[in-house]
């Protein structure tokens, strides 16, 4: 077994009286799809925020490809090839779909205009955005220049997922990417995830949808009360077992306890 591409040990994060992650460990292997499941409020989002630089843990260590890292901001993590879809989506509500998709990596016009006047290539960005949305089956978007705040819940989520998939290079983290999506759009996202893995990029997928998790995941990290309760392979356990461990109805199997 190779070394984890992303690894964490003993992460803690407390907010005043509230403990969000409690001495938590984490491992993501190269090229795998790792699902993270757990009750609401178990600390999944906080965990991946700590991994992607959006939150600074109170204590604990993180390694990327064997190198210890401490991301001060999501930009730091992104510079290291980690792309994240946050549960809150991180969109600028008043800006357009295209603006949001290219935020921080806008395309400039070729030639003088782009070099000298730094003019944006709106056309190229719009075409690209359209194409990515079509890939996800978001065919109800009538106006690509619509402000994101006017999109439906699912459309908005689709835009965020399209952004991460288009730009991630080393690790892609998806926090409940299909929560607001319809049947067809969810399916497209699953296909996208498999496609990304086939390009060799590992993925962290947080989801409450057990059938989806068991369909695509290579391994499942079960989170409970702020820490990793177990890591299982979907081939070894049933969904019922996973849910039982996650909700505390069943003790994690000794060998699998993290």
């Amino acid at each position: 077994m190779s070394d984890p591409i992303l690894k964490a040990r003993g992460l803690n994060k407390r907010y005043g009286k509230v403990t969000a992650i409690d001495n938590c460990d984490f491992d993501l292997m190269p090229g795998e799809i790792l699902a993270v499941i757990g009750d609401n409020g178990a600390g999944k989002s906080t965990l991946i925020k700590a991994l992607s630089g959006a939150v600074q843990p109170d204590s604990g260590k993180i390694w990327l490809d064997g190198q210890e890292v401490a991301f001060a901001s999501p930009n730091d993590a992104r510079a290291n090839g980690i792309e994240t879809v946050y549960q809150t989506l991180a969109m600028s509500p008043a800006l357009s779909i295209t603006d949001n998709m290219f935020m921080g990596r806008e395309l400039r016009k070729p030639g003088l205009m782009g070099k000298l006047f730094r003019t944006l290539d709106k056309k190229a960005m719009e075409d690209f955005a359209r194409e990515k949305l079509a890939e996800l089956g978001l065919m109800t978007i009538q106006n690509i220049n619509q402000a994101v705040e006017t999109l439906s819940g699912g459309q908005r989520q689709g835009v965020a997922v399209a952004r991460a998939a288009a730009f991630g290079s080393r690790v892609i983290i998806l926090d409940e990417p299909t929560a607001a999506l319809g049947v067809k759009e969810s399916r497209r996202v699953l296909e996208l995830i498999l496609d990304v893995r086939s390009r060799g990029i590992p993925i962290i997928l947080i989801s409450h949808n057990m059938p989806h998790v068991f369909e695509v995941a290579d391994r499942i990290h079960i989170h409970r009360l702020g820490k990793r309760a177990a890591v299982i392979r979907p081939s070894d356990f049933s969904m019922s077992d996973a849910v039982a461990i996650m909700t505390g109805a069943m003790e994690p199997p000794a060998s699998m306890a993290a």
Binding site: R14, G16, K17, T19, D22, G41, M210, P211, F214, E215, L225, G226, P234, S235, S238, M239, S240, A242, V243, A244, T247, G248, A249
Partner: protein, 356 residues
């Protein structure tokens, strides 16, 4: 196994569950202090205030650390303190009121002129002044809530209108303190001094303190108060959640107008005279906003406590008197107050950070 088993069965039976609890490692005084800072946003400006008093006390000795000087600060901030209380309400709704100072001055002119020009008994003249303030507040509130104009614009316009009306109506004439004392002492009631040892308290100061306490109570412990916060936090959500946003905004703006009327009465008490050119008309708004922001209320609405504004007003008052007593000349005082405003909020920010 990518087929669905009946995994939902697992959760169909309810198990005995407790709410999650964790051991926390650090305990005791420090943690309690942290927690207090978090739940009570006014505590930080209070600490800054006490620190400022201490520092000036150390530098200036008992000249500053005397009941006389300390109550003098209360007297000097009473108008700004009352206006800051009003301003806090508006800012909590994510608004801003540039007209507070001008409305207060015009109300004081109305109280004075109704007594002296039309012979209205002073008691009723004061009531009319309060009513007038409330009416202006209602107009502001209506334009903000119904016509949906930005509060900044509404009150900027109103500021100019009220200030100009104030000069036009009063013909820029001051009613002299001596005349008021002789003919309508009730107008000066808020200036009545209560001596307690070396301390000088005026009715105006007492009114300010009571007003702040009452508003703090209303904001914290009544439904109205919760609605004020909700409207400022996210008006769209508040509306969807069933808050009558219009009613809440109207009540706030009208109450603010009324409080400006109170400020007018306090002003007459403090100056003795009724003067249409009082500086409050021009800079009372900025002074009040400054106190509110130093006190930790967010200009984006929905966050902060009115007690904080009160401490904010006092912080500025302490700096101003302290610097003057230390002998800084007016231009240097002006400059140093600028520095200290930034410093006070930096300290505030720093305390919040280390205790986060």
């Amino acid at each position: 196994m990518s087929n669905t088993d009946s995994f939902e069965e697992v959760v169909k039976t309810r198990r005995e569950e407790k709410f999650a609890e964790f051991d926390t490692t650090e305990k005791g005084v420090l943690q309690k202090f942290h927690h207090a800072l978090h739940t009570n946003t006014a505590l930080v400006p209070l600490i800054v205030l006490l620190a400022a008093i201490l520092v000036f006390g150390l530098i200036l000795g008992e000249k500053f650390f005397s009941p006389f000087a300390l109550t003098l600060i209360l007297q000097q901030v009473q108008i700004v303190g009352v206006l800051a209380a009003a301003q806090s309400l508006i800012i909590l709704t994510a608004g801003i009121d540039l007209s507070v100072g001008a409305v207060a001055v015009l109300c004081s002119v109305i109280m004075g002129q109704f007594t002296f020009r039309y012979g209205v008994p002073p008691f009723f003249a004061v009531l009319l002044g309060l009513a007038f303030g409330t009416a202006i507040g209602a107009v502001n509130g209506w334009l903000v809530s119904k016509v949906k104009l930005p509060p900044f614009i509404v009150t900027l316009g109103m500021w100019q209108i009220v200030l100009a009306a104030n000069y036009l109506y009063s013909a820029n004439e001051t009613i002299r303190s001596q005349d008021i004392e002789a003919q309508a002492p009730f107008l000066q009631a808020m200036g009545t001094t209560v001596k307690l040892g070396g301390a000088n308290l005026t009715f105006g100061v007492i009114l300010m303190v009571i007003l702040v306490l009452v508003l703090a109570y209303a904001l914290r412990s009544t439904a109205w108060g919760r609605h004020v916060y909700a409207v400022g936090d996210d008006p769209e959500s508040a509306k969807l959640a069933g808050v009558n946003v219009h009613k809440t905004l109207m009540s706030v703006y009208m109450l603010v107008g009324f409080i400006c009327g109170l400020a007018a009465w306090v002003m007459i008490g403090r100056f003795g005279s009724v003067s249409p050119s009082a500086t409050t008309g021009v800079i009372g708004n900025i002074q009040a906003i400054t106190a509110v922001v130093i006190g930790g209320i967010s200009l984006f609405g929905g966050r902060g406590s009115i007690l904080g504004s009160f401490f904010g007003a006092l912080i500025v008052g302490v700096f101003e008197l302290g610097l003057r007593m230390a002998g800084a000349d007016p231009q240097w005082t002006f400059l140093l107050i600028g520095v200290l405003i930034i410093a006070a909020v930096t300290v505030d920010q720093w305390i919040r950070k280390v205790t986060a």
